[in-house]
Symmetry: C2
DNA sequence: TTGAAAGCGCTACCAC
DNA sequence: GTGGTAGCGCTTTCAA
């Protein structure tokens, strides 16, 4: 009764004609088996020394039958979906589309597809979404990480299971993860030094949400530059709590009410800087003559056309995405997380990498430094 | 020999202990079967009248074992992946991210995930990419369609097979497909009429690539408006071959060299209009005093901060994406394209819908009409 | 060289 | 209420 049972089942199915998967069908028409078809179609005919004639026959029939291998079935068997998920907080801000572009470009190069998950901005808990992604058996995850204990615990858990996970655009010191981020400490420092070099002594900072580590880095870089040049950073010289035009605007209004308002302002990002400029202009100040501005990111389009072209630190978001995906591909190199040869991901505990991309100062007009019209002109070809 | 064969196989597997799928494992620990676990975990315990105690036991154990249902396996069985692919030509232009956002928001609402495929701009043939997506058994496809005979033939083939496909942002008259597009004929007409109402008689158009149907619609709308008001549209009043700043710039330069240059210009999109303004300014003209501009799309960020805030026709790309996904959900309503109860998609030949979203005139400064400062102020909250 | 057999993890159906 | 069984479409070993 326990005798060669699968065989029996197989024969049975055959007799009933119930083995009509497309490969079988092709095999039947070509007068070969199921498996041979598979070998031919997957380019293993050399290794398996399958005759040319057979190959040709199989291929012709496959084409005629409009055969499309079912990757779902393959995934079930191999435990790999060749899909990664990209979880980002927003896509409307121009910075993120660039990341998406980078990730997808790199992914395509490695035969991966990208499942995009834009976790709705207000919704702080991304755990259910990530869970859904895992149920789909994505091979890896690239996340713009979010704060909040719940999320953080979830990242840690994933990592402990050995699941391939890469952070992009932010990083937590206490989570052992690979990440690609901007070198925002040095970027902000350089930006601040640029303003100092232009003769400014009273330099304010329009900060973002204090949560993200990189956000903190920008603040630290700003502080460091001031300190190294013996300048003070009065506490109320740091204003704003989000990287938006509105917050930059409001923060600047507060700065202007101080008894000693700044003569120069570093924006935590470009939007904040623009909001600041708007407030300054409305207060009757001239930019950059009365007050200078430097932004961060260079992620706003058509910058050359702005009322006052913004001097800023350029951060290459596309490159950031690309590197993140490249890192993820490495992490996914081991055995699959599930499927036939799944095994404990324990031995996947590879060394984690943190890449820092440096930003580049792009001098335009808002800072008051001498501008070459090149910057202006060269932007035409950009769009 | 053909006697109850599956049963034998099953017993065999059982005896060998080879049925260690997670559901079986849970069942074993809970003292119930495989199938019961499945029923409990999928909320069918009411219908199957499974005892509360069993339910509780199963659920507890599942949680303890960190059970994550494998949707790949489920997909193989049901023939549905609950995944749709979104194929777009570009993501760096701000218009497309908005579409992505709309699609994804709507998709999430229906339990779908979005596989993003940004077909590289230069690569005109998207057939291989679509083929790859089909091998992954996506349930449906939303495409910003591309021209070229090969692509077009492919769309037609897909549609003939009854595969759920929706176009977004463009549409072909000769392809029987559901689509969501902008009402660009009336939009361009309205924009042109706005300029006519402001007293202009010599109105030029900075056109885009003549391929897309909507592009043609914009040109047609422009023509219609002129015609209805008895105005001429000299052939060389239409310039430009792509919706980019660079092309708008170059096109405008040509317009300015004419013996009778225009006094007003309609941009095929915002970027083209901006390029035009740039050329006009460089030629020493004042905008809008010497020459008026209207754009199309309102897809550039921080518009309020531009040197000359652009009057434009606002097109809601997010809404466009959302509607496209909603349409696709409908189309996917029938039997799955593959899997157990797949059947010829022939009866899926539902009525096709074409939705046109109308654009709204947003008056700012570039057209020379009276502007309320409201427009200016209200934009602060936008970012 | 080829083909038979087993099985990836799940769901659906029926029998008890 | 519950359990047994078949099978989704593919890959991969092993036997011939």
């Amino acid at each position: 009764m326990v005798d060669i049972p699968g065989k029996v089942a197989y024969r049975y199915r055959q007799s009933i004609g119930m083995t009509a998967t497309t490969t079988t069908l092709i095999g039947r028409r070509a007068g070969v088996s199921h498996a041979t078809v598979c070998d031919v179609l997957n380019g293993r005919w050399q290794a398996k020394r399958i005759s040319q004639a057979t190959c040709a026959r199989v291929r012709t029939i496959a084409r005629k039958l409009n055969y499309r291998p079912n990757r779902v079935a393959r995934s079930l068997l191999t435990g790999r979906t060749h899909t990664v998920a990209l979880v980002i907080p927003s896509i409307s801000r121009s910075f993120f589309p660039s990341i998406v572009l980078g990730v997808e470009t790199e992914a395509k190069q490695h035969g991966y597809h990208v499942l995009l998950s834009h976790v709705i901005a207000g919704l702080e808990d991304e755990v259910p979404e990530i869970e859904a992604l895992l149920e789909r058996r994505v091979d890896g995850l690239i996340i713009v990480p979010r704060h909040g204990a719940h999320n953080r615990e979830n990242y840690r858990q994933l990592l402990k299971e050995g699941f391939p996970l890469v952070f992009v655009n932010d990083w937590f010191e206490d989570v052992p993860v690979s990440a690609v981020v901007g070198d925002d400490f040095n970027g902000a420092r350089q930006a601040t030094e640029h303003l100092i070099a232009l003769g400014h002594r009273r330099i304010a900072f329009l900060a973002g949400n204090p949560g993200p580590t990189v956000s903190q880095w920008r603040t630290d870089g700003y502080h460091r530059a001031l300190k190294e040049h013996g300048l003070a950073a009065p506490k109320n010289y740091i204003q704003g709590f989000a990287y938006t035009v509105a917050h930059g605007y409001a923060g600047m209004q507060r700065l202007l009410k101080l008894s000693e308002p700044p003569t120069a302002v570093l924006g935590g990002n470009d939007a904040a800087a623009l909001g600041g400029i708007k407030a300054a202009l409305e207060a009757g100040l001239r930019v950059p003559e009365d007050i200078a501005f430097v932004g961060y990111g260079d992620d706003l389009e058509e910058v050359w056309f702005q009322k006052i072209p913004l001097t800023t630190m350029r951060l290459d978001a596309t490159e950031m995405g690309r590197r993140a995906m490249a890192l993820l591909v490495e992490e996914m190199g081991g055995p699959p997380a599930c499927g036939r040869d799944a095994q404990a991901g324990a031995d996947r505990r590879k060394k984690k990498t943190m890449e820092k991309l440096s930003a580049k100062l792009v001098v335009r007009e808002s800072c008051g430094a001498k501008v070459t019209t090149q910057v202006h002109g060269s932007a035409v070809g950009k769009t």
